[in-house]
């Protein structure tokens, strides 16, 4: 898991170290685009743009989908997935804390009942 996230992180940094690729991300942030669109916009050959998109795709920053002869690129969902996963882990941590808290509260309640009875006696 750690290895995996470190590789992911390295891939992200490598992907972001290039000005064209950062530009592509910015562009995709505004709207989805085909590789041809991107190649034109960045004054590049199709092959060159395909390479850049490949690097971004491998880093999980971009996803592509081929419909017919057109490959459309969009921003990756990785960030959202990580957020969802983090929230679930956090929820589980609190759920198990609260399960323990339940036990403490039950014990205090019992104790209070006994003490209350003692006072009445």
């Amino acid at each position: 898991m750690v290895q995996y996230s470190r590789i992911r992180l390295d891939a992200s940094f490598a992907a972001l170290s290039d000005a064209t690729r950062r530009g592509v991300l910015e562009q995709l942030g505004r709207s989805d685009a085909s590789i041809t669109d991107l190649a034109e916009r960045f004054h590049m050959t199709l092959t060159g743009m395909k390479k850049h998109v490949g690097v971004l795709e491998q880093a999980g920053l971009v996803t592509t989908e081929k419909v017919g002869r057109v490959r459309t690129c969009k921003l990756g969902t990785r960030r959202l997935e990580e957020e969802t996963a983090w929230l679930e882990r956090y929820r589980q941590l609190w759920a198990s804390r609260f399960d323990e808290l339940d036990k403490v509260v039950e014990e205090l309640k019992r104790k209070e009942k006994i003490d209350g009875r003692k006072k009445k006696e």
């Binding site: 957020e83 956090y90 929820r91 589980q92 609190w94 609260f98 808290l101």
Partner: protein
Amino acid sequence: MDARRKNEPAPTENRTTVERKSERELIVTRTINGPARIVFEAFTRPELLKRWWAPKSSGVSLLSCEADVRVGGKYRFVFGHDASKTMAFYGRYIEVTPYSRLVWTNEEGDEGGAVTTVTFEEEAGRTLLVMHDLYPSKEALDAVLAGMEAGMRETFEQLDELVVSLGASSGR
């Protein structure tokens, strides 16, 4: 035993919810089967806090737990496996309203950490707990959610495992 069970109301499952309420806010809620007075006690007496704040499933234990629960009072929780590798969480209480509200700062981070507000709302002998974390900026909460912290923790855990396995093999 079975007969008694039939007469008891079906145990309602108290679900824990977590929600990012806004760019800077995170909310955790849970209902506890007990009056606010008792739940508040479990939050404010260190010897009780110690019993539930580090559940076994979290994989770490609470090595020490100090909490001076009054306005301006400090708290310090130290987590870890042993004294050589620990992680401390600390801050101050900025509001203490018995049985209804607790506010504390989280100061262990590099920049300003979140401010945690816990409210205790009692209804029919049960208490709704709402824990609200307000982060200083969107970026601060984004960083937490991006798993920066969790990643670090996992790294430490793996190091620990490595140390343990090295120790075990050299002991043979």
